[in-house]
């Protein structure tokens, strides 16, 4: 079914679709107001696009991604990946996901953890080792692949996260702040990886606070604020419309008034 979907629409087609999504967090204490993290957003990402998901802290980006991956249930509305409702696990066969804060089984080595995920993706046994070497080389962890993850630095752990997101050669990557915690070179690397994936025709949906980086790699961006999608469109379009760079656009959209002038 998935193959059919993918092959049939290998041109421009909607790979990620969010319909009227609303997510409420209920407080445990009675009588407290409910907390609306996402308030009715609509979004579609086309195949082959790199989509930057922007917004200030607490805007609801992570929550939206959690719904896309089935961690959190929408209060109303729905999401679909490859046309399959996200509540079904099969929707996650062809995606790679990098969580906001990455922690992995610390007692395993990078190699073991990738082998474990490879098993879950049912990657053929003959292919597993070459695939692991490939992604580890990509994120430059090849030389420490046998060390337990607890001995890694924060940035190295972040790269393990990236490696596991790529192990199944996903068609859609969902990355929650992939460059946080990385050094400038590491960031550059991630940008290169995203660029390369784009060239391979993969779709990338990622959130970030690095507007410069977003500007260089993204085709389109969406700007969220207080649970609502305030603005979306091609980067060039937005720049044109607002007559300024992306950072200014962002500040304007979220309604930030500079203290002086």
């Amino acid at each position: 079914m998935l193959d059919h979907w993918h092959d049939g629409y290998s041109g421009m087609s909607t790979i990620l679709k969010i319909d009227n999504l609303r997510v409420e967090y209920r407080r445990r204490e009675l009588g407290q107001p409910i907390n609306v993290a996402v308030n009715g957003i609509n979004l579609a990402v086309e195949t082959g696009e790199v989509f930057g998901f922007l917004g200030p802290n607490g805007a609801g980006k992570t929550t939206t991604m959690n719904v896309l991956l089935g961690f959190v249930n929408p209060t109303s509305g729905s999401c679909a990946l490859f046309g399959v409702d996200t509540r079904q696990p099969i929707a996650r066969q062809r995606i790679g996901f990098l969580p906001e804060l990455t922690y992995y089984y610390k007692f395993l080595s990078a190699e073991e953890i990738l082998r474990f995920y490879a098993k879950i993706f049912r990657i053929p046994a003959g292919e597993v080792e070459s695939r692991i070497s490939e992604v580890l080389k990509l994120v430059e962890l090849d030389n420490v692949r046998k060390r337990p993850i607890k001995s890694y630095s924060k940035g190295m752990q972040q790269r393990v996260g990236l490696a596991q997101a790529l192990i199944n050669k996903p068609d859609l990557l969902i990355l929650d702040e992939p460059t946080s915690g990385l050094d400038p070179v590491g960031r550059m690397k991630v940008r290169e990886i995203i660029q390369r994936l784009k060239e391979e025709g993969k779709t990338v949906f990622f959130s970030s606070h690095e507007l410069g980086e977003v500007e260089t790699v993204c085709d389109r961006v969406g700007i969220m604020c207080a649970g609502q999608l305030k603005e979306q469109g091609a980067v060039a379009d937005l720049r044109q419309r607002y007559q300024c760079d992306l950072e200014r656009v962002f500040l304007k959209v979220i309604g930030y008034q500079p203290a002086h002038g």
């Binding site: 696990p89 996650r92 996901f97 089984y105 007692f107 073991e112 879950i120 993706f121 049912r122």
Partner: protein, 257 residues
């Protein structure tokens, strides 16, 4: 099933890299050997008391291992956020529950096997004979019982917030079933009305873990019929399945953050 097995291997790997099991095993061995070296009135060839002590230690250790390892599984995944990359793969929550269960249960079975091997060796050196059938039955029944305990703990771990409260509650439950389960309906008879009905309901609803405790038959060389072992295994299977499904029902719609 493939996914569940993959998850279970991770659990086993984790347990094999932790120290608790080795500590408990060495403690059991040392205490048993110490007790074995005590001289009672210069009498030779006494062995039953040693078997009793060894089995008691095995039971306590096995419960400790089963509870401590299972209770942490899902909470630790959530706390360390390892559940996110895992569930972002095409894995259902039922597979996570079953995988965690299988991992803990297999690990307990392996550990238990080692304990019973030690017990067998002890009996062999003391009595010059190895009750292969009896020891196997005891191990098998013990392991079947641990399936129920592990599944129960798994359910507790998605219901209760803290693993420590889960361990305490499950341990108290298991201990009281083992000690009192056999007599609950008789105690009920001597009670006044609301208590009587409640206790009777408990008696018929709860998993009778004391079935699986064949220490007395093993020590005193009685035999347990094999058909009874088979029925007991099925009984354990039913309760395990029930607890696993209950775990899944709770865990299925739980928001993870």
């Amino acid at each position: 099933m493939n996914n569940a097995l993959a998850i279970s291997t991770i659990v086993i790997k984790e347990l094999s890299r932790r120290k608790d099991f080795y500590v408990l095993f060495i403690m059991t061995a040392i205490i048993t050997l110490l007790m074995g070296s005590v001289n009672f009135f210069n009498l030779q060839g006494i062995s039953k008391y040693l078997k009793e002590i060894c089995l008691l230690l095995i039971w306590i250790s096995s419960l400790a291992i089963a509870l401590a390892t299972t209770a942490r599984q899902i909470p630790a995944e959530r706390e360390n956020r390892t559940i996110f990359p895992l569930l972002a793969k095409p894995v259902t929550r039922w597979e996570v529950v079953v995988g965690k269960f299988l991992g803990c249960w297999f690990a307990c079975g392996l550990a238990l096997g080692l304990f019973y091997l030690f017990f067998g060796a002890l009996a062999l050196t003391r009595e010059g004979q190895f009750q292969l059938g009896g020891v196997f039955q005891a191990w098998w029944l013990h392991w079947s019982m641990l399936a129920i305990v592990v599944a129960m703990t798994l359910l507790g771990s998605v219901v209760f917030a803290a693993p420590s409260s889960n361990v305490t509650i499950v341990f108290l439950g298991v201990a009281s079933i083992l000690l009192l389960g056999r007599y609950l309906h008789k105690i009920a008879v001597s009670m006044t009305e609301p208590g009587q009905t409640l206790l009777s309901i408990c008696y018929f609803a709860m998993p009778h873990l004391e079935f699986f405790d064949v220490r007395d038959t093993l020590i005193h060389e009685w035999s347990v019929p094999w058909w009874a072992c088979g029925v007991a295994s099925l009984y354990a299977c039913c309760y395990t399945l029930f607890f696993l499904v209950a775990t899944w029902v709770v865990f299925r719609r739980q928001a993870l953050n």
